[in-house]
């Protein structure tokens, strides 16, 4: 009889613990649109472009854009709500940017003269309206968002 009581107590405690630890979903998270996996690759002058920022700007009003940085092989995986991967299906204008500070221009002194970053690829690619790059992400996601940039 005692054993039965103890078992019941344990079960009740366990149920309460599990119920209490259940995570509530944030209402902001609940309002987010669903995303599909979207991967691709960027090349410049025929070679993979590493460390470039890729931004997908939705062409339809009310859309939500996505972005990524390319790896050593020039490959990227879009994220709309980091750290979760994926992009909202739809049509996008794409911009690519890669900058570096001029040599020796990493700042350090207080009140130096302004140091401007230089673009390592043609600057038109940084603007979604000028880049001439576009993409469509289907409902089921895609893995071949390939962009070949020219000098």
């Amino acid at each position: 009889m005692y054993r039965a009581q103890a078992q019941v107590t344990l079960i009740v405690v366990a149920v309460l613990v599990i119920a209490g630890c259940g995570r509530q979903k944030d209402r902001w998270l609940a309002a987010r649109p669903s995303t599909a996996p979207a991967r691709g690759e960027v090349t410049f002058q025929g070679k993979p472009l590493e460390g470039a920022i890729v931004v997908f700007q939705p062409t339809a009003p009310g859309g939500i854009g996505a972005s990524a940085v390319t790896d050593v092989q020039g490959k990227f995986e879009l994220r709309t709500f980091p750290p979760d991967v994926g992009a909202v299906p739809g049509r996008y204008a794409v911009s690519v940017m890669k900058t570096a500070m001029p040599s020796g221009g990493t700042g350090g002194a207080d009140d130096p003269s302004p140091i401007q970053a230089i673009s390592l690829i043609p600057e038109k690619y940084a603007l979604p309206t000028m880049s001439d790059l576009s993409a469509n992400i289907p409902e089921e996601g895609t893995e071949d968002l390939v962009f070949h940039l020219k000098p």
């Binding site: 009889m1 005692y2 054993r3 103890a6 107590t9 344990l10 405690v13 613990v17 944030d26 902001w28 998270l29 309002a31 460390g51 920022i53 890729v54 931004v55 997908f56 700007q57 939705p58 009310g62 859309g63 939500i64 854009g65 996505a66 972005s67 990524a68 940085v69 994220r79 709309t80 980091p82 750290p83 911009s95 940017m97 900058t99 500070m101 221009g105 990493t106 700042g107 350090g108 207080d110 009140d111 130096p112 003269s113 302004p114 140091i115 401007q116 970053a117 673009s119 600057e123 940084a126 603007l127 979604p128």
Partner: protein, 355 residues
């Protein structure tokens, strides 16, 4: 018969073990709760400091009919003084019982910019310290550490900064938020309503060379800057910049009196507790940037509204289309960055729901 005999002899070993196990489970549940209570107490202290700045802002407004700038002050590069680089938080000192420090600043002789390594710039002022943030010194170079502060001003939903041309001669800039460099806005400028406009928020004092409280090394080009481009440089899981962090100058929170954008302002373009980037082609601390509001509290950041209310904002808040290019600071169009962006602007006419 057997039952009554057992009850006389006391508990069996099994029963004892079960009781001990239940107590162990309860203690295991309770211990994290104690830790959380400690963090909750620190967070409340942190919130109280923010509230003090809210009262200070309103008392300041009563005296001068406007809020202070986020960065400004006397002089320029050639004339010295404060080199127009004093943080707005110094203007609030007399209103948070720090008149002594304020007089110390006023009595400084000649060329003494707020990043110099001398008093009062090295003072650690308690009302500017959030107890949840344990950062003590600049992780890149401890000698660069000045007094730490954990609170900063909202410069709208676009570039926060003084413009890169600043050192040659001070140029008043505008902003879409409650605060700008060398420009003072007042409650009359908060056309969205003071309860819908953020005045201040928390900032993190970095404890590692690549993590919260640090700016990305990669500079966003002037034309293509968007919060999404900045967020791409940030690993939201490890809370660091895989492509490297900016080490040229001290981490953001370690210069309480410095009025350069990165040290004293943030924009509501990018999600709270996220990345910070230079956004206008220039790569130094006084240039424009998307500087994020950051805290050590889990799940979000505390903000002070312009009406004096302190709110906790979830880091999952609706941030609209992050890929939209940063709006020009002279415009008053609706913010493309959702509820978070709308809260940052003072006169853009968005309808802000519950947040």
């Amino acid at each position: 018969m057997l039952m009554s005999k057992r009850s006389k002899t006391g508990f069996t070993l099994i029963e004892l073990l079960v009781v001990i196990a239940i107590i162990a489970v309860l203690i295991a549940l309770l211990l994290p709760a104690v830790q959380q209570a400690r963090e909750a107490a620190r967070r409340t202290q942190c919130k109280n400091n923010l509230k003090q700045f809210g009262l200070a802002l309103h008392n300041y407004h009563d005296v001068y009919s406007n809020f202070p700038f986020f960065g400004g002050g006397t002089g320029n590069l050639s004339s010295g003084g404060q080199r127009s680089r004093l943080s707005g938080i110094a203007c609030l000192l007399p209103f948070v019982d720090q008149t002594g420090v304020y007089q110390e600043i006023q009595s400084l002789p000649g060329d003494n910019p707020p990043y110099n390594n001398n008093l009062p710039w090295t003072r650690v002022i308690s009302v500017m310290q959030c107890p949840s943030d344990s950062g003590q010194q600049d992780p890149n170079n401890a000698a660069n550490t000045r007094g730490k502060k954990n609170y900063m001003f909202c410069a709208g939903d676009s570039h926060a900064g003084n413009g890169c041309a600043r050192p040659a001669f001070p140029v008043p800039t505008r902003s879409r938020g409650m605060f700008a460099a060398l420009t003072c806005y007042g409650i009359r400028d908060a056309q969205d309503g003071t309860s819908n406009t953020i005045a201040m928020a928390e900032m993190v004092a970095a404890s590692s060379t690549n993590g919260p409280g640090i700016i990305a090394k990669t500079v966003l080009p002037a034309g293509g800057a968007s919060p999404a481009a900045c967020a791409a440089l940030w690993n939201a899981t490890t809370k660091s910049y895989p492509g490297g962090a900016y080490t040229g100058e001290p981490a953001r929170a370690y210069r309480w009196a410095d009025g350069a954008g990165s040290f004293t302002a943030f924009s509501t373009a990018i999600r709270p507790n996220s990345a910070s980037c230079f956004s206008n082609g220039g790569g130094t601390s006084y240039c424009d940037g998307i500087y994020s509001a950051e805290s050590r509290h889990s799940g979000g950041v505390q903000v002070l509204m312009a009406d004096g209310a302190v709110r906790f904002v979830s880091e999952n808040i609706d941030t609209g289309n992050q890929a939209a290019l940063l709006p020009a600071v002279t415009t008053s169009t609706a913010s493309p960055y959702g509820v978070w962006g709308a809260l940052g602007t003072r006169a853009s006419g968005e309808v802000v729901g519950d947040f």
